[in-house]
Every structure is written in C-alpha cells, then in structure tokens.
C-alpha cells in the first residue's frame, strides 16, 4: 500500500518554483532517502508532506487520503500522523527529556497510564533511560539525536521524516546513530523518509533513493551500498 503519495506537486516562493511537478509514491515500511545538493528543495518537500506549507498545485495523499490539494490544506499537521526529526532537532530547551516525549502524548489526549508506558518504552528503545529528568542542553550531540528520534517515534507515526539529522555529527557518531536508526526500523517498523546530501549516508540508510535537483526528481532507483 502507498503510505505517501505526491501527485504533480508544485511549490512556489515569490513566484519562483522550488518544487516542480514532483510525483512520488512511498510504500509502507520502506526506507527511502532523498538525496540532492543544498537548496534543491528537500526540506521544502518534507515540510509540504508535514503540512507546514501547502502546494500551489498538485495533490498530497497520506494513507490514500487526500491531505492537501491545489493550494488548500485539508489536514492540519497534527492530524497527519507523522513524526519528524528536524535538521536543528528542535528539542524544547525548557523541558526535560521526559517532558519533550510526553508533550505530544498529552496533546493527543492519551491516558496517563499508557503515556507512562510509552515513555518508558521509548526511553528504552533509544537507550536514554537514565536521562528522563535531564534537559536537552546538558546532553551530548548523540544523546540529543536520540531524544529527537524518541520524541518523533513515541507517537507511533505512520511515517518518520528526517531532515539531515546527522549533518552536525562526527563520522564515528554518525555511523553509530545510523545503525541505531536501522535497528529501530527493524524492531518497531515505520516508513522512513530520510533527507541527506551525503551519498554515503544515503547508501547506508536507504533501500530506495530519490535524487533531486533544482526542485525536480532526477532519478529514482535502489541504493547500491558500497562493498
């Protein structure tokens, strides 16, 4: 089943097209990477999907349901059941790790007992058990990554969008977190849409790869891991 579908989507900024006629279908549970140079429109594509911005032309479907069409948004971001890890992580600095995780659960009206269970489960999955009461500012770069990942996954999203989340890490840590992401994907299962400008990272993470250039899809195909 297609979990996400773009149909001839256009997005303009100041009359200049930033996304040009993109059509793309993404399967349930697949690992898709979007690769392309800086400024080619990767972030914009994710923000369109999340519903922060609306396409001027074209349709976007989630779970075969129309969420945006020709300039109107039909579903608010919070009703789209997506998780997102932002490029700057966007951890709320005034909340503890726990509060960061709990915020969305509360907003979705989930009962305290199941909130508790899901927070504990997520802390375990992301190996952050000891850090529930710590604020993000005190964590290392890798730990912050895990919290951001946990915050997105605790809501059990249909799809997880990641926007160059590892670009600020050193190579060693990057490799480790990549492995953890893949492990989480195997364990709990979700659709992963992963944006990067790094070909090696794309090959590590993705099964299928979309190469973008100037707001268009240049090529789609399987990734070829080195070695």
């Amino acid at each position: 089943m297609n979990i996400v579908e773009f149909r001839s989507v256009w997005k303009f900024y100041d009359q200049k097209p930033v996304i040009r006629n993109i059509s793309l279908a993404i399967q349930e549970n697949e690992r898709l990477v979007i690769l392309g140079p800086s400024g080619c429109g990767k972030t914009t594509l994710l923000r369109l999907l999340a519903g922060f911005i609306t396409p001027e032309k074209g349709d976007i479907l989630i779970n075969t349901e129309l969420v945006a069409s020709d300039g109107t948004s039909l579903k608010e971001p919070r009703d789209r059941n997506l998780g997102m890890v932002f490029q700057d992580l966007a951890l709320w600095p005034h909340m503890t790790v726990r509060d960061n995780l709990e915020f969305g659960l509360k907003a979705q009206g989930i009962k305290p007992e199941s909130r508790e269970r899901r927070i504990r489960e997520t802390l375990r999955l992301t190996q952050m058990e000891g850090y529930a009461q710590v604020r993000p500012g005190r964590l290392s770069g890798g730990q912050q990554q895990r919290v951001a990942l946990g915050r997105a996954l605790v809501l059990r999203p249909k799809a997880l969008l990641m926007d160059e989340p590892l670009s600020s890490l050193d190579l060693q840590l990057k490799t480790r977190i990549q492995r953890e992401i893949l492990k989480l994907h195997r364990e709990i299962g979700f659709t992963l849409i992963y944006v990067t400008h790094d070909e090696r990272e794309a090959a590590e993470i993705g099964k299928r790869m979309v190469v973008m250039k100037n707001g268009e899809i240049e090529r789609i195909g399987p990734t070829h891991p080195r070695c």
């Binding site: 999340a50 519903g51 922060f52 608010e76 971001p77 919070r78 009703d79 789209r80 997506l82 998780g83 997102m84 932002f86 490029q87 700057d88 992580l89 966007a90 709320w92 600095p93 005034h94 915020f103 969305g104 907003a107 979705q108 915050r151 809501l155």
Partner: protein, 527 residues
C-alpha cells in the same frame, strides 16, 4: 475560523478601538460644527500668525533636539555597543535613566541646578541668574529633551550595529583602521536604523508638551492642551491636534517608503560581533564619557536629591500624593499586563504574517507610539465622552485604553524580536505532535519567550508609569496619577516637596529595574 485567527483578530480589533477609532472621531469632530461640514477651526488656525509661529517653534525645537541626540548618540552608541570601553553596561544604564522618567522631571532637576535657587546659585548667584534665563526658553528645552531622547539613538544604534554581518567588517579590516571600517562599512550598513532613531526622536520631541510648558517655551502641543483644558473647546483642540497628527503620519510614511525595506533586509549577524580595541585612547575616552555622564545625568539627579533632602518634604509628599502614587503603581501594572497580552498577539501576528494586514498593524502601532499624547488624549475624549459610555469615560478604563493606544508598539516589537530568535521548528515540532495553537503558545512559545515577555512587561510598566500626556488629558476626577499630581503641584508647590515627589517617582521606576538586574546577575552566577 481557527482559534488562532480568532485570537489574532480580537487583538487587531482591540488595537483599532483603542487607537485608530479615537483619531478618526477626533478628525470628524474637527470638521463638523453643529452637524454641518465646516472648516472654520482650521481657518482660524491657518489665518492666525500666532499658530504659525507656534508651529515654527515646535519644528525648531524638534530639529535641534534631533540634531543634538544624533550627533552625540551615534558615537556614544558605537562606543558602548562595539568597543572595549570599561563599564559599558553601567554607562548604558545611566544614560538611559532620563528616558525612563517623565521629561518634565528632568526639567525640574535642571531647574534645581541652574535655577534661581539651584545648586549653582549657592556659590555663583549672578551666574545663576543668567543660566536661569537660559534654561527657561529654547536652549533649556533642547537640553532637557536631548538628554531625554539621547538613549533612543544610543540604544537603537547599539541594536542595529549588531545586525551588521561581521564578515563584511572583517573584509574591511584587512585594508583599513577602525575609523575607516565604521565610516565605510558598519555605519552605512546600519544607516537606515540610525535614521529611524533620529526620526523617532524628532516626532517624540515634537509631541512633548510637559517640558515646554514648564520651561515656558510656546509650542504647538501646548496650544492643543490649553484649548482643551482651559477653554473646553473640543473642536478647536482637535483642530490644533490634527496638524500634529498629520506631520507624524507624513514623516512615518516617508520612513516606511524609503527606509523600511532596507531596515528589514538586515538579518541578525551570524558569528560573534567584532570589538573595537581602543588601545592607548581607552583611558582618555573613558574619562570623557564619564564626565559627560556625570554632567548630563548624575548632576541634575543629585541636585534633585539635595533639594528634596528633608524628612518633612518626604512626609508631606506621601501625605499629599500617597493616593496618586498607589494609583500610579496599580495602573502601570495593569497597563503593562494588558500591553504584554495584546503586544504578544500583535507581535505574533506580525512575526508569523498570519493575516494579510500584518504590515498595517505594525505600522499602526508605530504611528500611535510616535503620535503626540495630546492627540491621542483628545481622540479618546472625543470618542468616549458620550452619555452611553461613561463606564469608560468616567473610570480608569479610559487611562488604560490610552496606554494601549500609545504603547502597544513597545510590547509588540519586543515580542517580534523575541519570537524571531525562536526557531520555527520548535513550534512545528509541537504542531506535528498534535498540539493545538493555544497549547503551542502556552507550553512552547510563551515559556521560550518568557525573558522577552518579562522585559516587555517591565518596559511597558515604566512607560505607563512615566506617562504624563495621556493621563493628564483623560483622567477621571479624583483618579490622577503621580506624574499628573506632581505636574499640577508644580505651579505653586514648595520646591522641596516637588523634588521629593520626583525622587519617589524615579525610585518607583528604578527599583523594579534594579531588581531585575540583580535577578539576572544571580541567574548568571548560577549557570
């Protein structure tokens, strides 16, 4: 309609009712006599040579004040914002004090230095006679208003210099000394911001009437006030206010068309700002700035203290104006709270561009801020002085509406700059987690913006507390505030009582500010 849009629209409507509608009503009343369209009030003004000379006086005063504050404020802002001068924060604080108190209090304090019974007269009575006649007139007004509005130029210069990209300065440093860099790169890049500061000073000094009234220099706003308070002639007062309103709008229109774009294009600089090393000049510059600060700020304040220094004066002050003092504190606190709420909404609107009219809202707040308080006061009275609206006209509500009309720009602009420092992703992450708008605001944005909002509250509190013009025009009987009470006692009250009241007023302004400074210092030590 979403909650978000509903809240934002309500804020816009409140602002319009508090600020825009009164001005329009006032304008209508000035062109309608006995139900007929009639320009007789304007005819009187245009044909009266006295009015033209008043307008001339106003423009001369405003121009000289602008010139003085810009010539001094720009280098001062550069020194305090970009150099390694010692005690920069202390200097910024001290130079800002005159802006935080009603300008006529500064006039009173200079009177205690240069006047017939002032400090100077104790040792040089004949010299004091000269300085006293010099104080009462144009030079004295320029001195007082310049020291009042110097911080406007100084603070905005510091702010705008920070927006200049340091890489551009670095590139210039490769081939030039600091003077050349400032002259060729930094100041030109911040030019529009500095120009905006000068315009603001021009408009604020054009509208000020407490100082010229006390120092007996006849200007246009005093005329509007007199027409209103002495003769109860609304139409004539309105007609006298309209030219001021027009000048304000015209000047800001020019600013909007020629400068706004450039100001907005400046992005906060990335990377650390470059610092000017004063080197061997450091001591000389430090001495000069200290001396200037002592003469301009500390000397008049000390004179005020000396003049007030008797227990009897303070006892009498509390006895005669204690009720006004309490009302002042109450109204200022209420005004500040309302202003922060409203300013948060309009600031959010301007920052997020959620409604098409966001630019107009921003412009409206700025126009209202620069509008002479006499104009706003007359406008409010024109609108609310009806039998059906005495619940506003005859209660402190009209004072609060006046605060909202004049000072929303402060809380709104502070909110905008605070919000622009919070990454959008913070809000988006909350949104994608399922939070509605109110929850996003209450749990994510407001906590992240809390320092900015607390700052906005304090600034609004201070401006409400120092407000003289609006309150003086609109206060219901028996509901005056301390600045108004002092102003009315000034005509024939004993100087030591006046000085004591002024000191009390200054303390009410500076105490919360010092408290905040202490809290910030403690927090810094903690982390």
């Amino acid at each position: 309609m979403t909650v978000r849009l509903a809240v934002l629209w309500i804020a816009v409507v409140i602002l319009a009712v508090a600020g825009l509608v009164p001005l329009l009503t006032m304008f209508l009343q000035s062109v309608v006599v006995d139900g007929q369209f009639n320009l007789s009030f304007y005819a009187q003004i245009v044909t009266s040579s006295r009015q033209w000379s008043l307008l001339g006086n106003s423009l001369i005063l405003a121009s000289l004040t602008t010139l003085g504050t810009t010539l001094v404020g720009l280098p001062l802002g550069i020194l305090l914002g970009k150099s390694d001068l010692p005690l920069r924060r202390t200097f910024i604080f001290l130079f800002t004090i005159p802006l935080l108190i009603p300008p006529y209090v500064t006039a009173v304090s200079w009177f205690d230095v240069l006047g017939r019974n002032g400090l100077l007269s104790k040792s040089y009575p004949s010299l004091a006679a000269t300085t006293s006649s010099w104080l009462f007139g144009l030079p004295g007004c320029v001195l007082v208003l310049s020291s009042t509005f110097l911080p406007v130029v100084m603070i905005l210069t510091i702010t705008f210099l920070k927006t200049v990209n340091p890489h551009l300065e670095e590139a210039a440093r490769l081939s030039s000394n600091w003077f050349g860099v400032l002259k060729g790169v930094t100041v030109p890049l911040a030019r529009s911001g500095i120009f905006l500061a000068s315009l603001l000073v021009f408009l604020l000094s054009l509208g000020e009437f407490g100082v010229p009234m006390f120092l007996r220099y006849n200007v246009f706003p005093v005329e509007a006030f007199t027409q209103f308070s002495a003769f109860f002639d609304y139409g004539a007062a309105a007609a006298a206010a309209v030219p001021l309103a027009l000048i304000t709008c015209l000047v800001l229109l020019l600013e909007a068309n020629f400068l706004r774009e450039k100001t907005y294009q400046l992005r906060p600089a990335s990377g650390a700002a470059l610092q000017i090393r004063l080197g061997r000049l450091r001591n000389v510059v430090f001495l000069t700035v200290s001396l200037f600060c002592i003469v301009l700020v500390l000397l008049p304040l000390s004179a005020l203290l000396v003049q007030s220094a008797s227990q009897a004066a303070y006892t009498e002050a509390i006895w005669r104006a204690g009720d006004s003092l309490l009302r002042s504190l109450l109204y200022a606190a209420m005004g500040a709270s309302l202003l922060v709420l409203l300013g948060f909404a309009t600031g959010y609107l301007i920052h997020s561009r959620a409604l098409g009219i966001c630019r107009s809202v921003d412009t409206l707040t700025v126009v209202l801020f620069a509008m002479p308080s006499t104009v706003i006061g007359i406008g409010l009275i024109s609108l609310w002085n009806q039998p059906s609206t005495t619940f506003i006209y005859a209660t402190p509500a009209i004072i609060l509406l006046g605060y909202i009309a004049q000072y929303t720009a402060l809380s709104s602009r502070i909110t905008v700059s605070t919000l622009s420092q919070i990454p959008v992703s913070m809000e988006e992450a909350a949104e994608i987690s399922g939070a509605g708008w109110l929850r996003q605001v209450a749990l994510i944005i407001a906590p992240l913006a809390k320092r900015g909002l607390a700052g906005a509250w304090l600034v609004c509190y201070i401006f409400c507390l120092r407000d003289t013009g609006i309150t003086m025009m609109v206060y219901p009987p028996g509901r005056d505030t301390l600045p108004v009470r002092i102003f009315s006692l000034m005509a024939n009250g004993p100087p030591d009582l006046i000085a004591a009241l002024c000191i009390i007023l200054i303390l009410c302004t500076l105490l919360p500010l010092s408290l905040l400074a202490v809290v910030i210092r403690l927090k810094r030590q903690e982390s």
